[in-house]
């Protein structure tokens, strides 16, 4: 089974090595790992997707082992949560001239943007959940040769304390105010 883990780590040399090291030394296989600094530049956020054998005694075990690291400030298991998960993919497809309009239509359905157009290929940029990317890539194989780079998942937990409708209303009120001030 795949486990989705979000970490807050000290933004220090070696932090990535330590986390990756726990995973490898405990025999886990990393599917994807993304890392970048947070609003607080002394901290980084990591999202890890890891393959976990379901036979383990304790689904929390990996989390606890990562938590032991001195540089790891916080670990959250987002596997079964309602987290927002996104992934970015760059996809280069070779495509014959007669198929180009159809491809663009398909890309549009997935809200993929063309970031590079060449005589024999398009390069698309698309974001979304992993399954959406898989679906698009599957379709693009019908057009020609596909070359692809994926970022791996990044995830953000939804805060359970926030009422989403309330938050949305508040956000629109703020943007209304902004609009008033700048007189759009």
């Amino acid at each position: 089974m795949q486990q989705l883990i979000s970490l807050l780590v000290e933004n220090k040399p070696g932090a990535l090595m330590r986390v990756a090291g726990v995973l490898t030394s405990r025999g886990y296989n990393i599917d994807s790992l993304t890392v970048a600094k947070t609003l607080d530049p002394t901290l980084s956020n990591m999202t890890i997707v890891v393959n976990v054998e379901s036979s383990t005694h304790d689904e929390e075990l990996l989390i606890k082992q990562i938590k032991r690291l001195v540089d790891v400030v916080e670990v959250v298991d987002l596997t079964d949560s309602q987290a927002v998960t996104r992934e970015l993919a760059l996809i280069k497809v070779t495509v014959s001239p007669d198929m180009r309009p159809a491809l663009l239509k398909e890309a549009d359905i997935f809200r993929a943007r063309v970031v590079d157009a060449a005589a024999t290929s398009y390069t698309l940029e698309v974001t979304g959940a992993g399954e959406k990317l898989d679906a698009l890539i599957g379709l693009l194989h019908n057009y020609g040769e596909v070359e692809m780079i994926r970022s791996g998942a990044m995830a953000m937990g939804r805060s359970p304390k926030v009422d989403h409708r309330e938050a949305f209303a508040e956000a629109s009120r703020v943007s209304d105010k902004v609009r008033e001030t700048v007189k759009i």
């Binding site: 780590v9 000290e10 040399p13 070696g14 330590r18 005694h57 690291l69 001195v70 400030v73």
Partner: protein, 577 residues
Amino acid sequence: MSSLMSGSQILLESLAREGVEMIFGYPGGVTLPIYDVLYDHPIRHVLVRHEENASFAAEGYARATGRVGVCMATSGPGATNLTTGLVDALMDSIPIVAITGQVPEHLIGRDAFQEADTFGITRAATKHNYLVKQIDEIPQVIHEAFHVAGAGRPGPVLVDITKNVLQGQTSYHPAGVLRPLRGFHVRLDPDNEEIEAALQFLWASERPYIYAGGGVISSAASDELREFAELLEAPLAHTVMGLGALPSNHPNFISMLGMHGSYAANMGITETDALIGLGVRFDDRVTGRLDAFAPKARVLHVDIDPAEINKNRRADLGIVGDVKQVLRKLNTRLRETKESLGTHNRQKRAVWRARIEGWKREHPFAEVYDDNEIKPQYLMKKLDEASGGEAIVSVDVGQHQMWAAQYIRFNRPRLWVNSGGLGAMGFGLPAAMGAQFGNPGKLVMAVVGDGGFMMSLPELATISSHKLPVKIIVMNNGWLGMVRQWQELFYNGRYSEVAMDAFPNCELLAAAFGIRGRSVDNPAELKTGLAEALAEPGPFLLNVNVTREENVYPMVPAGGAVNEMILGPPKPVAVGD
């Protein structure tokens, strides 16, 4: 102090502020600036003869004193040689701090002379490690290192410092308050609900069994453990790391458990209905085949490391906390309820203790004696007599280690020093040095095999130059005995590369290092030889030639069920059978 100090001076000042009295180390190119300051510094430096032994000696010091041990080495090979001791300390949760020099910052990554990625290499060998490239970081990092090494589940911490930092100058500001470690939290105290749940668990048990390990010693919980065992009137077995936490002559003590544990200890595990694991990690050498380990038991597991709970065996009740704090609270509640809740299964628990006693009588560790040759078990009996439960016994790894664990008794914790988890040969002698340096005036015996002794041979020079009164007892059977035992039992007796030929003449060897030594071959000689060793005010090397092919029993074959022990050598088969 506003005058300028060098990085090396600041380093040693920071170590002194941590109460460091002694460093086990070996100098080299990039640590020259440190050694220049050490030249007339109050911190004592013990020059070992190999860096691996510096880390083992620091461990021996830490294990025998309870304080943080410190070792030091230069960059590259110095640092890589330390690594075995670091992993050993990690496996056994021993607090040590290792200081290593690193090539100057401008040479890092250039494959400079004696450059190695110490920070990367020791990532998996330490609880935490540092690479210091800023001189102002030294005080904070050193104090943090000691804090991390000792707090919670203890372990090794390495601080790698570049030569330019060691040579640099700055004004020294003591670290003062430790900056908060956002990611390092230790839970010490259990909450009351957990204690009440544990109380119910304990009093509901009919056949309770305490399985206590090194965590009890780390948390200095011997008194609490004794009271707990007595209140619950429960039998107790120790892991190889726990020996001495409960005195070996305590009536509730069974023995060591596991692969070479006693029949009673392993039968007890198999029959208990309430297994109480205290500061233990359900190691495979204890559990054997996991699904056959304590099959009838519910498990209460107390450990300071949350990642140990449910790692190998699911706990019905897991309590994260310091064993000492947990036992204190539990003991209070046990005392308060002993005459109410405690009466419930009292009769059944008495029957259970009688069963354990029965197993003890049925198959005690064998009494083996021969007039003409020294049986290894007999040697351990004699060492036990010599110790009287009070000597520090530092052992190596293998057959002698298991016999020592079976036969030598300990009246208190921190007398038994051994490489439990990693099983590092060559550990015993340097660890004995560290233990002796930390306990001057105390009887320290390095009980080692002939194989491990050869690995730590150069340390005879350290022992000699300090006139360190360690008694080195070599149990010499001419083999790598434990490997030979497995080859005999599981590889059709094909003894492949286990003969330790060309063992040196021990009188000559000792004399060559300027210490006294003797070899003995039979029980009568052993008696006088041991007396001579103990009477000698300085170091003594006693080589004890024992029966060559003798096996450690009981034995649970690797991956077997703990109650399926090989209790002794196969009986001779009668002709015609």
